[in-house]
Symmetry: C2
DNA sequence: GTTACCATGTAACTAGTTACATGATTGA
DNA sequence: TCAATCATGTAACTAGTTACATGGTAAC
């Protein structure tokens, strides 16, 4: 059994919803998956091409009135099977997130305390902004009754994002406090 | 001013400690930075080469008794300046972590509940194991008095890892609970 | 003699982004 | 006519991993 990268599985998964074109896929990702999965057209279109070559999906050209032509992709039985097999595999490993702020902090002794403090404060603001966007996504999922069956799972992923962001904000607060109290 | 990728800055930062060779750098990363920054020899050696070419460090060959020859790298004034400039730059953006488990969960409606549950349980176990390794790293930093000046900052990064892991474990617990209660 | 550790390096490959190129339709 | 949105695609580049290749030293 041929294996694919996770981006391919992400696209197969999205094709189970009513997103049918490369453009639709990008829209869905930017709106709903963006907090844990980003993707560019430079990857979507070539991936869709190999998905069709491997007969995981079929493609038809649809000309809709008053809109440009677009290609619509539909999963084949084989495509659904491939997705199911991937879903049933256990997770290989916890993602190793590369974190620029931790990298800078690790070498914190080589910068002024003021600089470390302002870097952390800036980071904290960005995290707080992110937290608000999560609240917004949450509200739009809850409000949109179209995807009721999927909503539960979508909210789980959002809950993860919120919890992680909250913990990161708390870490910022705590670290800033320690830095400011130290050396008094 | 030429800019470099973060891996280059990581290596410049490590060269401020008494890690002097490619091998040493790999050791330090595997022992102390591994929870937020991994790196392979396939990147270390070529990066060291360009660091020397750009005169951010000098290299000397040292033959130590009873050990193979090794190359020792020392930061130049320019190298220290380059590192300092990077440290003083604000963070561009919060890292967008790609998360395989969230991706699978997002498509959770297309798998059995049992499967989702066991995937989450497996993930939780991995997180708990990771939490323990953080405790171990923490103890080894606290025990090792050699790096007292750096220790504070190293512990900050570890605290981040611990908080994030703890929040992720709590999310697993909560999500599992919701899944098991749902549909009763 | 063989395992573990010390030590350096490259080639091939995979993944992914960015910038570019093209063009239709709609509404202000 | 100009901006926004819909729509598809490629080429060049950057980053990074894995597998391979090599060889010294020490201890058992």
């Amino acid at each position: 059994m041929k294996t694919y990268n996770d981006t391919t599985y992400a696209i197969l998964g999205i094709l189970t919803t009513d997103c049918r074109s490369g453009y639709d896929i990008k829209q869905l990702i930017d709106r709903s998956l963006t907090h844990f999965w980003k993707i560019s057209y430079g990857q979507i279109y070539p991936t869709l091409k190999t998905i069709v070559e491997d007969e995981l999906a079929t493609v038809t050209i649809s000309s809709q009135p008053s809109k440009p032509e677009r290609k619509e992709y539909h999963l084949t039985a084989q495509g659904k099977e491939t997705l199911k097999n991937w879903l049933e595999e256990p997770i290989k490993q916890i993602p190793a997130e590369r974190n620029e702020i931790l990298l800078k902090l690790f070498f914190g002794r080589h910068q002024s305390k003021e600089n470390t403090v302002s870097t952390l404060e800036d980071y904290k603001k960005k995290l707080e902004a992110r937290y608000l966007t999560y609240i917004n996504i949450e509200e739009s999922i809850t409000a949109n009754k179209e995807h009721a069956e999927d909503a539960l799972y979508w909210l789980f992923t959002l809950d993860y994002g919120k919890r992680m962001t909250k913990a990161a904000i708390e870490w910022c607060t705590n670290t800033l406090e320690q830095l400011l109290n130290e050396g008094d």
